[in-house]
Symmetry: C2
Subunit: 236 residues, 2 copies
Amino acid sequence: MASVMGLTFKNSALLDQAFVHRSYANESPIPIEDNERLEFLGDAVLNFISGSFLYRMYPQFSEEKLTKLRSNLVDEPHLATLARELRLNERLQLGQGEQQGHGSDKDSILSDAFEAVIGAYFLDAGIEAVREFVEPLLSQAIAKMAAQQDLDKHLGDRITDAKSRLQEWMQRHHGKPPTYRLIEERGEPHNRIFVVQVWGQGKLLGTGIGSRKRAAEQEAAQEAIRHLQEAGLMSS
Amino acid sequence: MASVMGLTFKNSALLDQAFVHRSYANESPIPIEDNERLEFLGDAVLNFISGSFLYRMYPQFSEEKLTKLRSNLVDEPHLATLARELRLNERLQLGQGEQQGHGSDKDSILSDAFEAVIGAYFLDAGIEAVREFVEPLLSQAIAKMAAQQDLDKHLGDRITDAKSRLQEWMQRHHGKPPTYRLIEERGEPHNRIFVVQVWGQGKLLGTGIGSRKRAAEQEAAQEAIRHLQEAGLMSS
């Protein structure tokens, strides 16, 4: 038995292997396997779990939006942040060069180790156990992102206001403003998530997410503007 | 109940949705959902199943080789071929423009539909059911690829022979030829798969796969040569 990040492993050798960086394996006098195969496996597991989670949780999101949201959730900086929070850096096995180069603080090495631990846990405990561990991390990350997005929108509002711009365009071209529909409100009071759609001419123009309703509306308007621009209907 | 490709669906609406191309949904007088969200889900499922399958079946393959092999297995042309073999093209729902443009024969549309059916089957029957369906398809595809690779190697042998080249280099630099180890032989007599490693100076230089032993050795030698070239030890 061994444990890390609150996960208990029956096969502790698998967990140990998840921390072996290539640079350490290369310097080992006896042949040992590094964590790269486990990383390959963990990457596939994470993509599947995050993909099916988002599919289930956001029935109103387009494939494009799901893809974008997932790539933010499982990108290198975010996985490295999780690895630091879970203190994986303390267990990394690095070669001398990487140790001196502060390898245990590199995003790439930390993110790979996180994926390798996920791969090892999948082999040790199965896909449902990994799902139970990963989904709460995904929920927290989405809430944080939404909060950050609000901040970005707040700053962005001073420069350009997507809602006003969309409203103006709709008035000019169709004689009517767009309508916003709050289609979902989820989460605890301190990290609530709003999902808003914007409609015009009977068509869904865009969807937005945010920790405040106004931020979600701004994002929906931004998406609508992007689509209108891509369709050549609005200048960029 | 509904079925396709030998799969039986409890929820036939899910299966129907998997065939709805965007062009059809766009022309529909009533709002219907296209297959793009299911395609997103199916892509994640396929990547996970093929990744964990390859991890398990090829314990001797590096992360690099696993990644390459998987991307060949789940790339657009290969999924489109599977879709044709399974006659998914007959069930596609396309808009008028796509119908006239022979959309049901386009690789991109067929491959997306294959992924969408996989996504729908995952929702309907769970991950283990998808695994049982997909793994035999992967095995067949690998056997076919290995056979094709033999053919390529056979043609390639006339131009450049990786084994001879590696042997020459090892003799010149280390005074000894490399050694080849057959580490696995798998499959039925008519589609057997050989896995071979090439070693030199106590180190693993490369791994190869093929439906004949000699082809697997050639591939292993090619990988060894690529590594030596990348390390700046051999000219390209």
